[in-house]
Subunit: 317 residues, 2 copies
Protein backbone atom coordinates (compact mmCIF):
# COMPACT_ATOMS: atom_id res chain seq x y z
CA UNK A 1 0.00 0.00 0.00
CA UNK A 2 1.18 3.49 -0.91
CA UNK A 3 2.68 5.39 2.05
CA UNK A 4 0.06 8.17 1.89
CA UNK A 5 -2.77 5.65 1.79
CA UNK A 6 -1.22 3.80 4.73
CA UNK A 7 -0.91 7.04 6.68
CA UNK A 8 -4.52 8.03 6.00
CA UNK A 9 -5.79 4.50 6.78
CA UNK A 10 -3.84 4.44 10.02
CA UNK A 11 -5.27 7.82 10.97
CA UNK A 12 -8.86 6.74 10.30
CA UNK A 13 -8.42 3.49 12.22
CA UNK A 14 -7.22 5.36 15.28
CA UNK A 15 -9.25 8.55 15.12
CA UNK A 16 -12.19 9.44 17.33
CA UNK A 17 -15.00 12.00 17.12
CA UNK A 18 -14.12 13.46 13.74
CA UNK A 19 -15.19 16.78 12.30
CA UNK A 20 -15.37 16.58 8.50
CA UNK A 21 -14.99 19.84 6.57
CA UNK A 22 -16.39 20.42 3.07
CA UNK A 23 -15.59 23.36 0.80
CA UNK A 24 -17.85 26.39 0.35
CA UNK A 25 -20.19 26.42 -2.68
CA UNK A 26 -20.52 22.72 -1.81
CA UNK A 27 -20.85 20.36 -4.78
CA UNK A 28 -21.58 16.66 -5.12
CA UNK A 29 -17.97 15.65 -4.68
CA UNK A 30 -17.26 17.43 -1.40
CA UNK A 31 -20.70 16.43 -0.03
CA UNK A 32 -20.44 12.84 -1.30
CA UNK A 33 -16.95 12.50 0.16
CA UNK A 34 -17.94 13.94 3.53
CA UNK A 35 -21.02 11.77 4.02
CA UNK A 36 -19.33 8.63 2.66
CA UNK A 37 -16.52 9.17 5.15
CA UNK A 38 -18.96 9.91 7.97
CA UNK A 39 -20.87 6.69 7.26
CA UNK A 40 -17.63 4.72 7.04
CA UNK A 41 -16.47 6.06 10.39
CA UNK A 42 -19.79 5.00 11.97
CA UNK A 43 -19.35 1.53 10.41
CA UNK A 44 -15.97 1.51 12.16
CA UNK A 45 -17.69 2.28 15.46
CA UNK A 46 -16.73 5.96 15.60
CA UNK A 47 -18.60 9.26 15.60
CA UNK A 48 -18.33 12.03 13.01
CA UNK A 49 -20.07 15.22 11.93
CA UNK A 50 -19.97 17.22 8.71
CA UNK A 51 -19.80 21.00 8.49
CA UNK A 52 -19.91 23.54 5.69
CA UNK A 53 -19.65 27.32 5.61
CA UNK A 54 -22.86 27.39 3.57
CA UNK A 55 -26.13 25.48 3.55
CA UNK A 56 -26.15 22.37 1.40
CA UNK A 57 -28.05 22.92 -1.87
CA UNK A 58 -31.44 21.27 -2.11
CA UNK A 59 -30.31 19.07 -4.99
CA UNK A 60 -27.99 17.25 -2.57
CA UNK A 61 -30.55 16.82 0.21
CA UNK A 62 -30.94 13.19 -0.87
CA UNK A 63 -27.54 12.75 0.79
CA UNK A 64 -27.44 15.41 3.49
CA UNK A 65 -31.02 14.97 4.75
CA UNK A 66 -31.02 11.17 4.82
CA UNK A 67 -28.13 10.78 7.24
CA UNK A 68 -29.21 8.58 10.16
CA UNK A 69 -26.32 9.47 12.46
CA UNK A 70 -27.75 12.65 13.91
CA UNK A 71 -26.17 12.49 17.37
CA UNK A 72 -23.62 15.23 16.73
CA UNK A 73 -23.40 16.90 20.15
CA UNK A 74 -19.79 15.98 20.72
CA UNK A 75 -16.67 18.08 20.75
CA UNK A 76 -14.46 17.00 17.84
CA UNK A 77 -11.18 15.33 18.66
CA UNK A 78 -9.85 15.51 15.10
CA UNK A 79 -10.48 17.37 11.83
CA UNK A 80 -10.61 15.93 8.31
CA UNK A 81 -11.08 18.02 5.13
CA UNK A 82 -12.41 16.43 1.96
CA UNK A 83 -12.08 17.87 -1.57
CA UNK A 84 -10.69 21.10 -0.06
CA UNK A 85 -7.54 22.12 -1.97
CA UNK A 86 -6.90 25.30 0.02
CA UNK A 87 -8.11 26.52 3.40
CA UNK A 88 -9.43 29.67 1.67
CA UNK A 89 -12.04 27.43 0.04
CA UNK A 90 -13.49 26.51 3.45
CA UNK A 91 -15.18 29.89 3.71
CA UNK A 92 -14.24 32.63 6.19
CA UNK A 93 -15.68 31.28 9.45
CA UNK A 94 -14.61 27.68 8.96
CA UNK A 95 -11.18 28.74 7.74
CA UNK A 96 -10.65 31.01 10.75
CA UNK A 97 -11.57 28.28 13.19
CA UNK A 98 -10.02 25.19 11.61
CA UNK A 99 -7.44 26.05 8.96
CA UNK A 100 -4.50 25.25 11.22
CA UNK A 101 -6.09 22.21 12.83
CA UNK A 102 -6.68 19.85 9.92
CA UNK A 103 -5.27 16.43 10.74
CA UNK A 104 -6.03 14.80 7.41
CA UNK A 105 -6.96 16.13 3.97
CA UNK A 106 -8.32 13.78 1.30
CA UNK A 107 -8.34 15.42 -2.11
CA UNK A 108 -7.77 15.14 -5.87
CA UNK A 109 -6.71 18.70 -6.79
CA UNK A 110 -3.14 18.93 -8.02
CA UNK A 111 -3.18 22.50 -6.66
CA UNK A 112 -3.67 21.15 -3.10
CA UNK A 113 -1.80 23.45 -0.72
CA UNK A 114 -0.85 20.66 1.71
CA UNK A 115 -2.11 22.70 4.65
CA UNK A 116 -3.04 19.58 6.65
CA UNK A 117 -0.93 17.45 8.98
CA UNK A 118 -1.40 14.55 6.54
CA UNK A 119 -2.48 14.88 2.93
CA UNK A 120 -3.76 12.10 0.68
CA UNK A 121 -4.06 13.67 -2.76
CA UNK A 122 -4.28 11.77 -6.07
CA UNK A 123 -4.30 14.35 -8.87
CA UNK A 124 -5.21 11.71 -11.48
CA UNK A 125 -8.40 10.82 -9.61
CA UNK A 126 -11.60 12.08 -11.20
CA UNK A 127 -13.01 13.07 -7.82
CA UNK A 128 -12.17 13.13 -4.12
CA UNK A 129 -14.76 10.32 -3.94
CA UNK A 130 -12.50 8.22 -6.16
CA UNK A 131 -9.63 8.76 -3.70
CA UNK A 132 -11.91 7.76 -0.81
CA UNK A 133 -13.06 4.66 -2.67
CA UNK A 134 -9.46 3.58 -3.12
CA UNK A 135 -8.70 4.32 0.50
CA UNK A 136 -11.68 2.24 1.69
CA UNK A 137 -10.67 -0.53 -0.71
CA UNK A 138 -7.15 -0.64 0.64
CA UNK A 139 -8.51 -0.61 4.21
CA UNK A 140 -10.69 -3.57 3.18
CA UNK A 141 -13.67 -1.71 4.54
CA UNK A 142 -16.97 -3.28 3.53
CA UNK A 143 -19.09 -0.57 1.93
CA UNK A 144 -22.86 -0.26 2.13
CA UNK A 145 -25.47 1.22 -0.22
CA UNK A 146 -25.34 4.63 1.43
CA UNK A 147 -21.56 4.92 1.05
CA UNK A 148 -21.84 3.71 -2.55
CA UNK A 149 -24.54 6.34 -3.25
CA UNK A 150 -22.35 9.11 -1.81
CA UNK A 151 -19.24 8.04 -3.73
CA UNK A 152 -21.13 7.60 -7.02
CA UNK A 153 -22.60 11.08 -6.59
CA UNK A 154 -19.15 12.62 -6.22
CA UNK A 155 -17.85 10.82 -9.29
CA UNK A 156 -20.78 11.73 -11.55
CA UNK A 157 -20.69 15.34 -10.35
CA UNK A 158 -17.02 15.84 -11.17
CA UNK A 159 -17.05 13.91 -14.45
CA UNK A 160 -20.24 15.49 -15.82
CA UNK A 161 -21.77 12.01 -15.66
CA UNK A 162 -18.77 10.36 -17.35
CA UNK A 163 -18.59 12.95 -20.14
CA UNK A 164 -15.30 14.69 -19.35
CA UNK A 165 -11.71 13.57 -19.87
CA UNK A 166 -11.37 12.59 -16.20
CA UNK A 167 -13.97 9.83 -16.69
CA UNK A 168 -11.24 7.32 -17.40
CA UNK A 169 -10.79 3.62 -16.75
CA UNK A 170 -10.76 3.92 -12.95
CA UNK A 171 -13.92 6.06 -12.79
CA UNK A 172 -15.84 3.44 -14.81
CA UNK A 173 -14.48 0.45 -12.90
CA UNK A 174 -15.34 2.12 -9.58
CA UNK A 175 -18.82 3.03 -10.88
CA UNK A 176 -19.37 -0.63 -11.75
CA UNK A 177 -18.40 -1.68 -8.22
CA UNK A 178 -20.63 0.98 -6.63
CA UNK A 179 -23.61 0.05 -8.83
CA UNK A 180 -23.26 -3.52 -7.54
CA UNK A 181 -24.28 -2.18 -4.11
CA UNK A 182 -27.76 -1.58 -5.51
CA UNK A 183 -27.66 2.21 -5.64
CA UNK A 184 -30.45 4.00 -7.49
CA UNK A 185 -28.13 5.57 -10.05
CA UNK A 186 -30.83 6.24 -12.69
CA UNK A 187 -32.64 8.39 -10.13
CA UNK A 188 -29.41 10.15 -9.06
CA UNK A 189 -28.53 10.97 -12.65
CA UNK A 190 -31.98 12.12 -13.61
CA UNK A 191 -32.14 14.21 -10.44
CA UNK A 192 -28.72 15.80 -10.94
CA UNK A 193 -28.51 16.12 -14.71
CA UNK A 194 -31.93 15.98 -16.34
CA UNK A 195 -34.57 17.45 -14.13
CA UNK A 196 -35.37 21.12 -14.45
CA UNK A 197 -38.17 23.29 -13.17
CA UNK A 198 -40.54 24.80 -15.72
CA UNK A 199 -39.19 28.20 -14.72
CA UNK A 200 -35.67 27.03 -15.49
CA UNK A 201 -36.73 25.64 -18.88
CA UNK A 202 -38.37 28.96 -19.72
CA UNK A 203 -35.31 30.89 -18.59
CA UNK A 204 -32.80 28.75 -20.49
CA UNK A 205 -34.96 28.83 -23.61
CA UNK A 206 -35.22 32.61 -23.47
CA UNK A 207 -31.51 33.16 -22.84
CA UNK A 208 -30.49 30.60 -25.47
CA UNK A 209 -32.58 32.37 -28.08
CA UNK A 210 -30.95 35.68 -27.24
CA UNK A 211 -27.27 34.78 -27.29
CA UNK A 212 -25.15 37.20 -29.32
CA UNK A 213 -22.49 35.56 -31.46
CA UNK A 214 -19.45 37.54 -32.62
CA UNK A 215 -16.18 36.97 -34.50
CA UNK A 216 -17.56 34.08 -36.60
CA UNK A 217 -19.21 32.55 -33.53
CA UNK A 218 -15.95 32.36 -31.62
CA UNK A 219 -17.35 34.63 -28.91
CA UNK A 220 -20.86 34.27 -27.49
CA UNK A 221 -22.47 36.69 -25.04
CA UNK A 222 -25.45 36.13 -22.75
CA UNK A 223 -26.77 39.33 -21.17
CA UNK A 224 -28.93 39.15 -18.06
CA UNK A 225 -29.94 42.72 -17.35
CA UNK A 226 -32.13 43.73 -14.41
CA UNK A 227 -35.30 43.64 -16.49
CA UNK A 228 -34.65 40.01 -17.47
CA UNK A 229 -33.90 39.12 -13.84
CA UNK A 230 -37.23 40.64 -12.83
CA UNK A 231 -39.11 39.06 -15.71
CA UNK A 232 -38.01 35.58 -14.58
CA UNK A 233 -37.92 36.40 -10.81
CA UNK A 234 -34.30 35.27 -10.82
CA UNK A 235 -32.45 34.58 -7.57
CA UNK A 236 -28.68 34.11 -7.32
CA UNK A 237 -29.14 30.30 -7.58
CA UNK A 238 -30.68 30.77 -11.00
CA UNK A 239 -27.34 31.94 -12.40
CA UNK A 240 -25.80 28.53 -11.68
CA UNK A 241 -24.97 26.85 -14.98
CA UNK A 242 -26.01 29.79 -17.16
CA UNK A 243 -22.56 30.66 -18.59
CA UNK A 244 -22.07 27.18 -20.16
CA UNK A 245 -25.17 27.82 -22.29
CA UNK A 246 -22.96 30.25 -24.23
CA UNK A 247 -20.48 27.53 -25.22
CA UNK A 248 -22.89 25.04 -26.83
CA UNK A 249 -22.18 26.11 -30.39
CA UNK A 250 -19.15 24.21 -31.63
CA UNK A 251 -17.17 27.24 -32.84
CA UNK A 252 -17.47 29.16 -29.57
CA UNK A 253 -14.12 29.62 -27.84
CA UNK A 254 -15.19 32.20 -25.26
CA UNK A 255 -18.60 32.17 -23.59
CA UNK A 256 -19.47 35.32 -21.64
CA UNK A 257 -22.24 36.00 -19.14
CA UNK A 258 -22.97 39.64 -18.31
CA UNK A 259 -24.99 39.81 -15.10
CA UNK A 260 -26.24 43.21 -14.06
CA UNK A 261 -25.74 43.80 -10.32
CA UNK A 262 -26.60 47.50 -10.12
CA UNK A 263 -27.39 50.22 -12.62
CA UNK A 264 -23.74 50.60 -13.66
CA UNK A 265 -22.16 47.50 -12.15
CA UNK A 266 -21.87 44.19 -13.99
CA UNK A 267 -20.53 40.85 -12.84
CA UNK A 268 -18.89 38.92 -15.68
CA UNK A 269 -18.38 35.14 -15.95
CA UNK A 270 -16.38 33.57 -18.75
CA UNK A 271 -15.95 30.00 -19.93
CA UNK A 272 -13.38 28.83 -22.45
CA UNK A 273 -13.40 25.86 -24.77
CA UNK A 274 -10.18 24.79 -26.48
CA UNK A 275 -6.98 26.63 -25.65
CA UNK A 276 -8.13 30.13 -24.69
CA UNK A 277 -7.24 31.18 -21.13
CA UNK A 278 -10.13 33.27 -19.83
CA UNK A 279 -8.36 33.61 -16.46
CA UNK A 280 -5.86 35.87 -18.23
CA UNK A 281 -8.58 37.83 -20.02
CA UNK A 282 -10.43 38.48 -16.75
CA UNK A 283 -7.16 39.40 -15.02
CA UNK A 284 -6.71 42.29 -17.48
CA UNK A 285 -10.05 43.61 -16.23
CA UNK A 286 -9.26 43.25 -12.52
CA UNK A 287 -10.64 39.76 -12.06
CA UNK A 288 -9.23 36.25 -12.26
CA UNK A 289 -9.90 32.53 -12.02
CA UNK A 290 -8.96 29.38 -13.88
CA UNK A 291 -7.97 28.99 -17.53
CA UNK A 292 -11.38 27.54 -18.42
CA UNK A 293 -13.62 29.48 -16.01
CA UNK A 294 -13.04 32.99 -14.68
CA UNK A 295 -14.76 36.24 -13.81
CA UNK A 296 -14.49 39.96 -13.11
CA UNK A 297 -16.61 42.98 -12.24
CA UNK A 298 -16.91 45.94 -14.64
CA UNK A 299 -18.45 49.36 -14.05
CA UNK A 300 -20.18 51.42 -16.73
CA UNK A 301 -23.37 51.41 -18.74
CA UNK A 302 -24.51 48.08 -20.17
CA UNK A 303 -23.45 49.15 -23.66
CA UNK A 304 -20.02 50.27 -22.51
CA UNK A 305 -19.44 47.08 -20.56
CA UNK A 306 -20.51 44.84 -23.43
CA UNK A 307 -18.36 46.76 -25.91
CA UNK A 308 -15.33 46.53 -23.64
CA UNK A 309 -15.83 42.78 -23.18
CA UNK A 310 -16.25 42.09 -26.86
CA UNK A 311 -13.20 44.17 -27.73
CA UNK A 312 -11.04 42.53 -25.06
CA UNK A 313 -12.19 39.00 -25.92
CA UNK A 314 -11.46 39.69 -29.59
CA UNK A 315 -7.85 40.46 -28.78
CA UNK A 316 -7.37 36.96 -27.36
CA UNK A 317 -8.79 34.96 -30.25
Amino acid sequence: MDRFFEEAAEFLRNCEDALIITHQSPDGDTIGSAYALKEALYLMGKRAKVICQEEFPERFHFITETDEHKCEDFEEKCVIAVDVADTALMGDDVEKKYSKKVDLCIDHHETNKEYAERTLVIPEAAAACEVLFKLFEQMELKLNTRIATCLYTGIVTDTGCFRFSNAGIDAHVIAAVLIAYGIDFPWINRHLFDVKTKKRIELESYLSQNIEYLYDDRVAVISVTKDIQERFSMTSDDFDGITPLATKVEAVQIGILIKQKEENKFKISMRATGNINVGKICATMGGGGHAKAAGCTIFGTFEEVKEKLIKTAGEYL
Copy 2:
Protein backbone atom coordinates in the same frame (compact mmCIF):
# COMPACT_ATOMS: atom_id res chain seq x y z
CA MET B 1 -19.96 -20.23 -24.32
CA ASP B 2 -23.67 -19.68 -24.65
CA ARG B 3 -25.20 -21.52 -27.62
CA PHE B 4 -26.37 -18.33 -29.31
CA PHE B 5 -22.94 -16.74 -28.94
CA GLU B 6 -21.35 -19.88 -30.33
CA GLU B 7 -23.73 -19.91 -33.27
CA ALA B 8 -23.07 -16.24 -34.06
CA ALA B 9 -19.32 -16.67 -33.63
CA GLU B 10 -19.34 -19.69 -35.90
CA PHE B 11 -21.28 -17.76 -38.51
CA LEU B 12 -18.88 -14.80 -38.45
CA ARG B 13 -15.85 -17.07 -38.68
CA ASN B 14 -17.20 -18.75 -41.78
CA CYS B 15 -19.01 -15.90 -43.50
CA GLU B 16 -17.86 -14.05 -46.59
CA ASP B 17 -18.77 -10.74 -48.21
CA ALA B 18 -21.26 -9.58 -45.64
CA LEU B 19 -23.95 -6.97 -46.03
CA ILE B 20 -24.65 -5.27 -42.70
CA ILE B 21 -28.08 -3.73 -42.25
CA THR B 22 -28.79 -0.88 -39.83
CA HIS B 23 -32.22 0.35 -38.83
CA GLN B 24 -33.87 3.43 -40.27
CA SER B 25 -33.58 6.67 -38.30
CA PRO B 26 -30.07 5.39 -37.63
CA ASP B 27 -28.66 6.15 -34.19
CA GLY B 28 -25.27 5.71 -32.57
CA ASP B 29 -25.98 2.14 -31.56
CA THR B 30 -26.98 0.74 -34.94
CA ILE B 31 -24.19 2.74 -36.65
CA GLY B 32 -21.60 1.87 -34.01
CA SER B 33 -22.56 -1.81 -34.19
CA ALA B 34 -22.47 -1.90 -37.97
CA TYR B 35 -19.08 -0.23 -38.35
CA ALA B 36 -17.54 -2.12 -35.42
CA LEU B 37 -18.67 -5.36 -37.05
CA LYS B 38 -17.46 -4.25 -40.47
CA GLU B 39 -14.02 -3.40 -39.06
CA ALA B 40 -13.92 -6.69 -37.16
CA LEU B 41 -14.73 -8.65 -40.32
CA TYR B 42 -11.92 -6.86 -42.15
CA LEU B 43 -9.57 -7.73 -39.27
CA MET B 44 -10.67 -11.32 -39.87
CA GLY B 45 -9.69 -11.00 -43.54
CA LYS B 46 -13.22 -10.66 -44.88
CA ARG B 47 -15.17 -7.99 -46.76
CA ALA B 48 -18.28 -6.20 -45.56
CA LYS B 49 -20.46 -3.23 -46.40
CA VAL B 50 -23.00 -1.28 -44.40
CA ILE B 51 -26.34 -0.09 -45.70
CA CYS B 52 -29.16 1.99 -44.34
CA GLN B 53 -32.51 3.06 -45.73
CA GLU B 54 -31.60 6.64 -44.86
CA GLU B 55 -28.46 8.76 -44.96
CA PHE B 56 -26.34 8.64 -41.86
CA PRO B 57 -26.74 11.78 -39.73
CA GLU B 58 -23.84 14.21 -39.81
CA ARG B 59 -23.21 13.80 -36.10
CA PHE B 60 -22.14 10.21 -36.77
CA HIS B 61 -19.90 11.05 -39.72
CA PHE B 62 -16.92 10.64 -37.40
CA ILE B 63 -17.70 6.93 -37.73
CA THR B 64 -19.30 6.59 -41.15
CA GLU B 65 -16.96 8.92 -43.05
CA THR B 66 -13.73 7.65 -41.55
CA ASP B 67 -14.15 4.07 -42.69
CA GLU B 68 -11.05 3.03 -44.64
CA HIS B 69 -12.54 -0.07 -46.22
CA LYS B 70 -14.21 1.58 -49.19
CA CYS B 71 -13.96 -1.27 -51.72
CA GLU B 72 -17.62 -2.22 -51.58
CA ASP B 73 -18.32 -3.27 -55.17
CA PHE B 74 -19.04 -6.86 -54.27
CA GLU B 75 -22.26 -8.83 -54.33
CA GLU B 76 -23.09 -9.82 -50.76
CA LYS B 77 -22.97 -13.50 -49.88
CA CYS B 78 -24.64 -13.07 -46.50
CA VAL B 79 -26.74 -10.56 -44.60
CA ILE B 80 -26.34 -9.43 -40.97
CA ALA B 81 -28.71 -7.03 -39.21
CA VAL B 82 -27.55 -5.09 -36.13
CA ASP B 83 -29.81 -3.42 -33.56
CA VAL B 84 -32.80 -4.17 -35.83
CA ALA B 85 -35.60 -5.69 -33.73
CA ASP B 86 -38.07 -6.01 -36.59
CA THR B 87 -37.70 -6.00 -40.37
CA ALA B 88 -40.19 -3.11 -40.49
CA LEU B 89 -37.50 -0.98 -38.86
CA MET B 90 -35.20 -1.48 -41.84
CA GLY B 91 -37.24 0.93 -43.90
CA ASP B 92 -39.36 0.01 -46.92
CA ASP B 93 -36.73 -0.57 -49.62
CA VAL B 94 -34.29 -2.47 -47.43
CA GLU B 95 -37.08 -4.52 -45.88
CA LYS B 96 -38.49 -5.44 -49.27
CA LYS B 97 -35.14 -6.60 -50.55
CA TYR B 98 -33.65 -8.26 -47.47
CA SER B 99 -36.25 -9.05 -44.82
CA LYS B 100 -36.32 -12.75 -45.66
CA LYS B 101 -32.59 -13.07 -46.26
CA VAL B 102 -31.09 -12.12 -42.92
CA ASP B 103 -28.63 -14.81 -41.85
CA LEU B 104 -27.74 -13.30 -38.48
CA CYS B 105 -29.31 -10.65 -36.29
CA ILE B 106 -27.36 -9.16 -33.37
CA ASP B 107 -29.59 -7.15 -31.07
CA HIS B 108 -30.57 -6.16 -27.53
CA HIS B 109 -34.32 -5.52 -27.90
CA GLU B 110 -36.46 -7.93 -25.94
CA THR B 111 -39.12 -7.32 -28.59
CA ASN B 112 -36.85 -8.81 -31.27
CA LYS B 113 -39.06 -10.61 -33.80
CA GLU B 114 -36.51 -13.37 -34.52
CA TYR B 115 -36.94 -12.85 -38.25
CA ALA B 116 -33.37 -13.93 -38.97
CA GLU B 117 -31.95 -17.39 -39.57
CA ARG B 118 -29.89 -16.92 -36.36
CA THR B 119 -30.58 -14.39 -33.64
CA LEU B 120 -28.22 -13.29 -30.90
CA VAL B 121 -30.27 -11.06 -28.64
CA ILE B 122 -29.40 -10.11 -25.05
CA PRO B 123 -32.29 -8.06 -23.65
CA GLU B 124 -30.29 -7.07 -20.56
CA ALA B 125 -27.58 -5.48 -22.69
CA ALA B 126 -27.55 -1.69 -22.69
CA ALA B 127 -26.88 -1.59 -26.43
CA ALA B 128 -26.36 -3.83 -29.43
CA CYS B 129 -22.76 -2.64 -29.13
CA GLU B 130 -22.59 -4.33 -25.73
CA VAL B 131 -23.76 -7.59 -27.31
CA LEU B 132 -21.13 -7.22 -30.03
CA PHE B 133 -18.44 -6.49 -27.44
CA LYS B 134 -19.30 -9.71 -25.63
CA LEU B 135 -19.37 -11.63 -28.88
CA PHE B 136 -15.94 -10.30 -29.87
CA GLU B 137 -14.66 -11.08 -26.38
CA GLN B 138 -15.87 -14.66 -26.56
CA MET B 139 -14.36 -14.99 -30.04
CA GLU B 140 -11.10 -13.70 -28.51
CA LEU B 141 -10.94 -11.12 -31.27
CA LYS B 142 -8.33 -8.45 -30.64
CA LEU B 143 -10.05 -5.08 -30.94
CA ASN B 144 -8.50 -1.87 -32.26
CA THR B 145 -9.14 1.81 -31.52
CA ARG B 146 -11.66 2.13 -34.34
CA ILE B 147 -13.77 -0.79 -33.09
CA ALA B 148 -13.52 0.58 -29.54
CA THR B 149 -14.67 4.02 -30.75
CA CYS B 150 -17.66 2.48 -32.55
CA LEU B 151 -18.69 0.32 -29.58
CA TYR B 152 -18.27 3.16 -27.06
CA THR B 153 -20.44 5.37 -29.28
CA GLY B 154 -23.23 2.80 -29.29
CA ILE B 155 -23.10 2.41 -25.53
CA VAL B 156 -23.08 6.15 -24.75
CA THR B 157 -25.87 6.73 -27.25
CA ASP B 158 -28.19 4.14 -25.75
CA THR B 159 -27.37 4.90 -22.10
CA GLY B 160 -27.57 8.69 -22.45
CA CYS B 161 -23.87 8.78 -21.56
CA PHE B 162 -24.32 6.39 -18.61
CA ARG B 163 -27.31 8.25 -17.19
CA PHE B 164 -30.10 5.70 -17.72
CA SER B 165 -30.96 2.51 -15.84
CA ASN B 166 -29.36 0.36 -18.54
CA ALA B 167 -25.94 1.86 -17.67
CA GLY B 168 -25.29 -0.98 -15.29
CA ILE B 169 -22.22 -2.86 -14.20
CA ASP B 170 -21.48 -4.36 -17.63
CA ALA B 171 -21.79 -1.05 -19.48
CA HIS B 172 -19.22 0.55 -17.16
CA VAL B 173 -16.83 -2.39 -17.22
CA ILE B 174 -16.98 -2.48 -21.01
CA ALA B 175 -16.48 1.31 -21.19
CA ALA B 176 -13.34 0.92 -19.07
CA VAL B 177 -12.00 -1.73 -21.44
CA LEU B 178 -12.82 0.38 -24.52
CA ILE B 179 -11.22 3.51 -23.02
CA ALA B 180 -8.02 1.49 -22.58
CA TYR B 181 -7.82 1.35 -26.40
CA GLY B 182 -7.07 5.08 -26.37
CA ILE B 183 -10.36 6.33 -27.79
CA ASP B 184 -11.05 10.07 -27.68
CA PHE B 185 -14.11 9.74 -25.46
CA PRO B 186 -14.10 13.37 -24.18
CA TRP B 187 -14.42 14.52 -27.81
CA ILE B 188 -17.10 11.92 -28.60
CA ASN B 189 -19.13 13.02 -25.57
CA ARG B 190 -18.80 16.77 -26.21
CA HIS B 191 -19.65 16.13 -29.87
CA LEU B 192 -22.69 13.93 -29.15
CA PHE B 193 -24.05 15.50 -25.97
CA ASP B 194 -22.87 19.10 -25.58
CA VAL B 195 -22.34 20.75 -28.96
CA LYS B 196 -25.37 22.11 -30.75
CA THR B 197 -25.93 24.12 -33.89
CA LYS B 198 -27.59 27.52 -33.59
CA LYS B 199 -30.54 26.08 -35.44
CA ARG B 200 -30.78 23.28 -32.90
CA ILE B 201 -30.63 25.73 -29.98
CA GLU B 202 -33.45 27.76 -31.57
CA LEU B 203 -35.49 24.63 -32.19
CA GLU B 204 -35.06 23.21 -28.68
CA SER B 205 -35.85 26.56 -27.13
CA TYR B 206 -39.01 26.90 -29.18
CA LEU B 207 -40.19 23.35 -28.48
CA SER B 208 -39.32 23.57 -24.77
CA GLN B 209 -41.41 26.70 -24.45
CA ASN B 210 -44.36 24.97 -26.10
CA ILE B 211 -44.56 21.69 -24.21
CA GLU B 212 -48.07 20.78 -23.04
CA TYR B 213 -48.23 19.36 -19.52
CA LEU B 214 -51.16 17.20 -18.44
CA TYR B 215 -52.29 15.13 -15.45
CA ASP B 216 -50.41 17.30 -12.91
CA ASP B 217 -47.34 17.34 -15.15
CA ARG B 218 -47.13 13.55 -15.27
CA VAL B 219 -47.56 13.57 -19.05
CA ALA B 220 -45.80 16.04 -21.33
CA VAL B 221 -46.42 16.37 -25.06
CA ILE B 222 -44.24 17.97 -27.71
CA SER B 223 -45.99 18.46 -31.03
CA VAL B 224 -44.00 18.97 -34.21
CA THR B 225 -46.53 19.59 -36.91
CA LYS B 226 -45.63 20.22 -40.54
CA ASP B 227 -45.68 24.01 -40.10
CA ILE B 228 -43.11 23.80 -37.29
CA GLN B 229 -40.97 21.45 -39.39
CA GLU B 230 -41.07 24.01 -42.21
CA ARG B 231 -40.46 26.97 -39.94
CA PHE B 232 -37.23 25.38 -38.67
CA SER B 233 -36.38 23.61 -41.98
CA MET B 234 -36.28 20.35 -40.03
CA THR B 235 -34.81 17.20 -41.53
CA SER B 236 -35.25 13.75 -40.00
CA ASP B 237 -31.93 14.23 -38.14
CA ASP B 238 -33.41 17.11 -36.23
CA PHE B 239 -35.82 14.80 -34.43
CA ASP B 240 -32.98 13.00 -32.72
CA GLY B 241 -33.11 13.71 -29.01
CA ILE B 242 -36.31 15.76 -29.13
CA THR B 243 -38.50 13.38 -27.11
CA PRO B 244 -36.31 13.60 -23.97
CA LEU B 245 -36.99 17.36 -23.85
CA ALA B 246 -40.47 16.37 -22.70
CA THR B 247 -39.19 14.58 -19.60
CA LYS B 248 -37.11 17.39 -18.05
CA VAL B 249 -39.71 18.44 -15.50
CA GLU B 250 -39.40 16.23 -12.43
CA ALA B 251 -43.02 15.09 -12.24
CA VAL B 252 -43.14 13.89 -15.85
CA GLN B 253 -43.58 10.12 -16.13
CA ILE B 254 -44.40 9.91 -19.83
CA GLY B 255 -42.85 12.20 -22.42
CA ILE B 256 -44.49 12.11 -25.84
CA LEU B 257 -43.32 13.45 -29.19
CA ILE B 258 -45.93 13.78 -31.93
CA LYS B 259 -44.20 14.09 -35.29
CA GLN B 260 -46.38 14.79 -38.29
CA LYS B 261 -45.35 12.65 -41.27
CA GLU B 262 -48.24 13.36 -43.61
CA GLU B 263 -51.54 15.24 -43.35
CA ASN B 264 -53.15 12.46 -41.30
CA LYS B 265 -50.18 10.33 -40.32
CA PHE B 266 -48.20 10.88 -37.12
CA LYS B 267 -45.12 9.13 -35.81
CA ILE B 268 -45.11 8.93 -32.01
CA SER B 269 -42.11 8.56 -29.74
CA MET B 270 -42.44 8.02 -25.99
CA ARG B 271 -39.99 8.11 -23.13
CA ALA B 272 -40.74 6.91 -19.62
CA THR B 273 -39.24 7.93 -16.34
CA GLY B 274 -39.83 5.82 -13.24
CA ASN B 275 -41.80 2.60 -13.59
CA ILE B 276 -44.08 3.26 -16.54
CA ASN B 277 -43.62 0.86 -19.47
CA VAL B 278 -44.14 2.90 -22.64
CA GLY B 279 -43.33 -0.18 -24.73
CA LYS B 280 -46.66 -1.61 -23.55
CA ILE B 281 -48.49 1.66 -24.18
CA CYS B 282 -47.16 1.85 -27.74
CA ALA B 283 -47.96 -1.83 -28.29
CA THR B 284 -51.65 -1.10 -27.66
CA MET B 285 -51.46 1.34 -30.58
CA GLY B 286 -49.69 -1.02 -32.97
CA GLY B 287 -46.14 -0.03 -32.10
CA GLY B 288 -43.51 -1.27 -29.68
CA GLY B 289 -40.03 -0.78 -28.26
CA HIS B 290 -38.41 -0.79 -24.86
CA ALA B 291 -39.99 -0.14 -21.47
CA LYS B 292 -38.35 3.29 -21.31
CA ALA B 293 -38.38 4.26 -25.01
CA ALA B 294 -40.92 3.19 -27.58
CA GLY B 295 -42.92 4.37 -30.57
CA CYS B 296 -45.88 3.85 -32.85
CA THR B 297 -47.61 5.37 -35.85
CA ILE B 298 -51.15 6.77 -35.57
CA PHE B 299 -53.48 7.90 -38.33
CA GLY B 300 -56.03 10.69 -37.95
CA THR B 301 -56.16 14.44 -37.63
CA PHE B 302 -53.65 16.08 -35.32
CA GLU B 303 -56.34 16.75 -32.72
CA GLU B 304 -57.62 13.16 -32.86
CA VAL B 305 -54.13 11.73 -32.53
CA LYS B 306 -53.22 13.97 -29.63
CA GLU B 307 -56.47 13.21 -27.83
CA LYS B 308 -55.99 9.47 -28.28
CA LEU B 309 -52.44 9.65 -26.96
CA ILE B 310 -53.37 11.73 -23.94
CA LYS B 311 -56.26 9.43 -23.13
CA THR B 312 -54.18 6.25 -23.51
CA ALA B 313 -51.23 7.64 -21.54
CA GLY B 314 -53.62 8.66 -18.76
CA GLU B 315 -54.77 5.07 -18.38
CA TYR B 316 -51.23 3.95 -17.56
CA LEU B 317 -50.45 6.53 -14.87
